[in-house]
Symmetry: C2
Subunit: 198 residues, 2 copies
């Protein structure tokens, strides 16, 4: 008398989404089946397709469909500056300031010992290889001003300075404890301009 | 320089989920791509598969992989009682009381003029056909005690009594304005036992 197995599988599968518990997953499944089968079909295809074609850019680690993403290939960007961000969402916010013309490296995370994410899990070797390409002169650390983001910036600062690179940190114009993703572009722009040497 | 089209398509597709706006969709996409590709693959398959195999039971309108669901086919259920609920989630809550042995009809909605859902959109003809099979003696209305659920019960009561059926409403043991899905099974059981003729 229980629910059909395919329905149970769908509800269970929806729980992979961040912040979605059993009740929400059930609601979502019923909603999709009854009210938006077209949207559900599109989502199913988008998931399958994006997993096939999206990978991490060999240079900036952001998502791309190519070996190296469009931004990293662009001759218009200043290849002597490398800005390190935690996530693609943060990268998008940096771009929206229209103040920065350099390149990026996207960590896809932060050092978070409580979550078991250390330097090794973050694959910081790739960042070091990228930063030491001989072209990059300055690395701008734009991790969040949370405890974990600060710790990551501190750790990266030591590492990169030891390789003879000039390292800076975006200014603490952002409120302590806040996150880039939820800050207005003007504040981020100021913090970028007022970056200080580490 | 914008995001790859497959990533944008994924973010856009995630917005079909109820309560998911642009920011949440972006977060979900990044989370799935970076932290749970396996879960994302499973979700993609579950969506595609469930849309193929799940349909509405010809008798109770609940989701099933067969023409008629297991419950409607069971000889153990009392076919003289038909309980009308708004959603499969509500049906599941009724079952958890272990008090009811009859069959169900799942409306997959409620009369909600503000949302453009009238008797025609709910396909109440199917319920009438089902209730007038000659076997059903009593229809128990277990729509929610919200304004819309009450209006639906009132409307259905008139319709079904006109066909010579005995119609009852689960007791208002549930607080007015509350919803079945969020009520404990004991309260629902009492409301079922104390149902009153309409």
């Amino acid at each position: 008398m229980s629910a059909p197995s395919s329905l149970e599988a769908l509800i269970e599968a929806l729980r992979c989404l961040p912040g979605v518990g059993p009740k929400s997953a059930q609601r979502m499944a019923y909603y999709l089946l009854q009210r938006d089968r077209q949207g559900a079909a599109r989502l199913g295809q988008a998931l399958t397709h994006s997993l096939q074609v999206l990978r991490n850019c060999a240079r900036c680690n952001n998502y791309t469909e190519d070996e190296v993403c469009e931004r990293c290939q662009s001759p218009r960007r200043d290849a002597t500056q490398l800005c390190v961000v935690e996530s693609p969402a943060d990268l998008n916010m940096m771009e929206q300031t229209h103040v920065y013309q350099g390149l990026y490296f996207c960590l896809m995370g932060r050092i978070a010992p409580l979550d078991g994410v250390g330097p090794r899990e973050l694959k910081l070797d790739r960042l070091l290889d990228r930063a030491c390409d001989g072209v990059v002169k300055e690395v701008i650390l734009a991790t969040n001003f949370t405890n974990e983001g600060e710790a990551t910036a501190h750790y990266l600062g030591e590492l990169l300075r030891a390789r003879g690179l000039s390292v800076s940190r975006i200014a603490r114009g952002l409120p302590v404890g806040s996150e880039l993703e939820h800050t207005d572009a003007g504040t981020i722009a100021q913090a970028l301009v007022e970056r200080r040497p580490l």
